[in-house]
Symmetry: C2
Subunit: 239 residues, 2 copies
């Protein structure tokens, strides 16, 4: 049987999603739990990697099991093995052809910025801004990102192609908490954090809009600021 599970996790408790030697990763915890249930080694595929410290409210993971379980039964068995910092929200049966990464239609990331006084209970869950941020200017930067662009200057690591499409970027402010949502097809490594980084640089007045324009047009601009992992949430995946 082939399954897709929708999971949430507290990224501050793991060295990222991907299996990495002996360090505790989300993939490792889930594979070990599934291997116990399956009584035979299970390897999973995630919709995407999240780096160390990055949270997920809706990460998707697919795998094959040799044993047959009801969806409710699998959910319960898995949750008892992966708690407390990972939670399986839903189990879905899929076809053999389904691939958690290649079948993604839309991905949504959320970035949280605390504009108010420092809160030690949110240290791992938001980015604490030391500066006053001009949100209107940040929205102007966001407008530049929307559409298809070559994001070379916002991506970490070597690739053949840096083109990406961003469908929309939304801002939401509740009291001192600024939430920025990025909706796209896929995002490369550090890309959302670098996109937010330049928003912050412009919002605090350290850089201006023209620098962002250049970064989107010229491949030889040095990258700006990488916003910390603590503020980033993989929020939604559509198939």
């Amino acid at each position: 049987m082939y399954y897709l599970i929708r999971i949430a996790y507290d990224g501050s408790k793991f060295y990222g999603f991907q299996r990495l030697n002996k360090k505790i990763s989300v993939q490792k915890v889930i594979e070990e739990a599934l291997t116990i249930i399956n009584k035979k080694k299970v390897v999973v595929k995630g919709a995407g990697r999240t780096d160390r410290g990055v949270h997920a409210l809706d990460q998707c993971v697919s795998f094959k099991l040799d044993v047959s379980l009801t969806k409710e039964g699998l959910k319960k068995a898995l949750n008892s093995l992966v708690e407390p910092y990972i939670y399986v929200k839903e189990v879905i049966e899929v076809d053999e052809s389904f691939h958690a990464r290649f079948n993604v239609v839309k991905k949504q990331y959320l970035y949280k910025i605390n504009l108010g006084e420092y809160n030690p209970l949110l240290s791992d869950y938001v980015y604490q801004s030391k500066y006053k941020l001009d949100i209107e200017k940040m929205k102007e930067v966001a407008k530049l990102y929307i559409g298809v662009h070559d994001f070379t200057n916002f991506v970490s690591g070597e690739r053949d192609n840096y083109d990406c499409i961003i469908y929309d970027i939304n801002f939401d402010k509740k009291d001192d908490l600024l939430e920025i949502r990025f909706i796209g097809k896929s995002f490369y490594r550090y890309m959302v954090r670098n996109l937010v980084g330049m928003m912050i640089e412009v919002g605090r007045g350290k850089d201006n809009i023209s620098k962002v324009k250049e970064m989107l047009e010229n491949k030889k601009i040095n990258p700006g600021y990488t916003a910390p992992a603590s503020g980033l949430y993989l929020e939604k995946i559509e198939y």
Copy 2:
């Protein structure tokens, strides 16, 4: 110079407030920071202890320094040494006669219960109820607690006197989050967690109100349920 500081901390990162051998405690981190600043050993007094896993939004700590610093200077120096899971919100100069514990006039504790689906990102910050809770019944239990009572059956450890005054208990529900606030003069060890514990037992239908009445009147009743530390916050202290 004598100082009082108002601090917040993420209790999930410490083995409680009180210094305890080599384990990391809030008191230890603050005393070590103050000893660096003072260039001479500093011992602090807290308004009260919080157990392992219990959070504070406003704990108060008093101490004496031999060096003289401005309030802003001390706040900045301390915060750079105690971050990221402790935060000094305010520094106040006090008289030599001031005592962080004995001078307390009112204390407020907050207990957070998640009534909705499990959230792995809130694992250390709320109590996750597995049961449907009847909030009206919990309010009835709360009414019984208000006033002066002998709380023997709600306190852990031996004492000479178990009398306590609770001024008020307030309920606040936002979506799936239930917040219960306890306002009193002082609370003994595990007391708030045991008070909440019996509210939960009654709210889920496992015990009824008459059991709580008996527990407040008869010293020989076995204690009920101790609600987990994760939901508890020391929220306010008045002098």
